[in-house]
């Protein structure tokens, strides 16, 4: 296990201690329980829960999945059992683990976001919140906020006023200038940035001339988008002074190291979990071996190692 190694994989994000910088992305690890019988969850750096909404949400019409070259589309549509059951069934269970949990919050109105975020903060069971202002699969709400950096910032202010734990804002890649959005939410009081969410995308069954997804469009994730995610983290890291959790198509420990080198303080593994639920642990080991080979003492040395032309 990585912990036994000499190199220090521990990091601190907004005052939260993580034993290593590898988390699992929202929506790709359930709320952890589904994987508890397969592996030791406490070996993860942290867990980002599936998005929680105030009321139970049935999600989108199937089919909800489609595979694309080096990627996949999903249109889950925030299916979840709602805040009440999340607190009773999931968060309580998770809180018994020695594992920092980012609870991912979504909503269909600012009031909903504020209510869900506030409730979760008040339980004292979550390490942090991750604000999903960018789900590409919901018609109302979600997508709206992230489309407009000002609205996103306004939402962040509202939520911040109601919570006592760190607030990470999850950015969508569907934007012209992600560094600008990041700067706006930073100014509005966000404690960290997580990025990126999936790309709105689409596929068609040409035999029937109908969309592959019941919801017509869905979010693209996986290795296909990784080079875009790396560029975006690079831009945001140069624009804001907040911790960044980088995600988007991480498939090997090399992709994780790359993501940290362009400026993310931690990484989160998403789609890869479907191919191999134990992959995040392999990535931890890969990072540790790389640090040893390079003679580095701490994983934080990786962060921001890449220098650009002008630097």
């Amino acid at each position: 296990m990585a912990e036994d190694k000499r190199v220090d994989l521990g990091i601190e994000l907004s005052g939260i201690r993580l034993r290593n910088p590898v988390l699992v992305c929202s929506g790709t690890y359930g709320n952890g329980r589904e994987y508890a019988e397969w592996l030791e969850l406490e070996a993860l750096g942290g867990l980002m829960t599936k998005s929680v909404t105030l009321a139970p949400c049935p999600g989108n019409a199937p089919p909800r999945l489609w595979e694309t070259p080096s990627g996949m589309l999903n249109s889950i549509g925030l299916e979840n059992a709602g805040l009440e059951r999340f607190l009773a069934d999931e968060l309580t269970w998770l809180s018994h683990l020695d594992l920092p949990v980012w609870v991912n919050v979504a909503g269909f109105s600012p009031e909903e976001y504020v209510e869900v975020a506030g409730e979760i903060s008040r339980t004292g069971l979550a390490a942090a919140l991750e604000l999903n202002i960018s789900c590409p699969n919901v018609k109302r709400g979600g997508i709206h906020f992230s489309h407009d950096a000002h609205e996103a910032a306004a939402l962040v202010e509202l939520v911040k006023a109601e919570i006592e734990i760190p607030l990470y804002v999850k950015l969508t890649p569907r934007c012209t200038d992600i560094a600008h959005t990041a700067a706006m939410v930073a100014a509005a009081g966000a404690d960290g940035i997580s990025m990126i969410n999936t790309f709105p995308a689409m596929a068609v069954d040409i035999e029937t001339a109908s969309p592959r997804l019941g919801n017509v469009t869905g979010g693209l994730s996986g290795p296909a988008i990784h080079p875009i995610a790396v560029r975006m983290v690079w831009e945001v890291a140069r624009a804001v002074d907040l911790p960044i959790i980088g995600m988007g198509g991480i498939w090997t420990w090399k992709d994780a190291v790359e993501m940290m080198m362009v400026g993310s303080d931690a990484v989160a593994v998403g789609t890869l979990n479907f191919a191999d639920p134990a992959a995040p642990l392999g990535i931890v080991d890969g990072i540790a071996a790389f640090l040893e080979r390079k003679g580095m003492d701490s994983v934080t040395e990786l962060v921001d190692m890449v220098r650009g032309e002008d630097e």
Binding site: W38, R64, W66, E79, L272, A275
Partner: protein, 250 residues
């Protein structure tokens, strides 16, 4: 891992180090080592014995092509057995209806029902005799197998639901089906709401995680109205009444 070709299907048999306890209808989620292909592929268990388990695979795309060509002796990376299988009771008279590769789950089920002294009839619909190679003959030795071919090359000429209807849908204490969505919908319509109470179907949804974590394999259910269950964890086997057939048809 050993491989055997049967018509258009390939049977892969894996030695299982540990005891492998699985119910018919359960599946394994198999990683296919094709670059650029990222999701696992779900396959019903076809034959489970002490120390071995087998799958019946049909080549339809890159993942199954890889599986059909994987070198003998390789170890497959599989998660499983996963999901909820068929629920079975002793005795009774059972109609088992398979479309195409649905025969994998149905054959495993037939074996078990017969061990439970059930009287089983298996209806299998395929495109044509060529598709199943010698497989239908081999299976016919194991249980009462009635073949329906769309091209009329063997058995009943037509689709398997017609064959089943022609055989009289009454008198079966249990009806079990696995196959394409259209076939299942046709069956549900054919047996009517009374028959649904005796029906169990295995739903072949596209899957990502395979363990209930991603909600990708949603199947429309009748309760709560407008709600979904997961094929991978709550299913793949559902009772006829659990499902919202209106939304499955559409």
């Amino acid at each position: 891992m050993a491989r055997r070709q049967c018509g258009c299907f390939v049977e892969l048999t894996m030695e299982m180090g540990e005891p492998f306890a699985a119910a018919p209808g359960q599946f394994v989620h198999v990683r296919c080592e094709v670059p650029g292909l990222i999701l696992r592929r779900p396959y019903s268990l076809y034959d489970v014995r002490k120390g071995s388990a087998s799958l019946l695979i049909r080549e339809v795309g890159a993942g199954s092509a890889w599986l059909c060509a994987v070198e003998e002796g390789c170890e497959l990376d599989m998660l499983g057995p996963l999901g909820r299988g068929f629920s079975m009771s002793a005795g009774g008279r059972h109609a088992l209806i398979a479309g195409g590769t649905g025969i994998a789950a149905i054959r495993f089920l037939a074996t078990r029902l017969m061990e439970l002294d059930g009287d089983t009839v298996v209806f299998w619909g395929v495109e044509g005799e060529k598709e199943c190679g010698g497989l239908h003959g081999a299976l016919d030795g194991e249980f009462d197998l009635r073949l329906a071919t769309m091209d009329g090359s063997a058995g009943y000429a037509g689709n398997v639901i017609e064959l089943f209807r022609a055989s009289g849908t009454e008198g079966f204490t249990g009806i079990y089906a696995c196959g394409p969505r259209g076939m299942l919908a046709g069956l549900a319509e054919c047996i009517g709401s009374e028959g649904l109470a005796r029906l169990q179907v295995c739903m072949e949804e596209r899957m990502a995680c395979g363990v209930g974590a991603c909600r990708g394999c949603a199947v429309p259910v009748s309760s709560p109205p407008g709600g979904y269950l997961t094929a991978c964890k709550d299913g793949p086997v559902f009772t006829g009444r659990e499902l919202d057939w209106r939304r499955i048809n559409g």
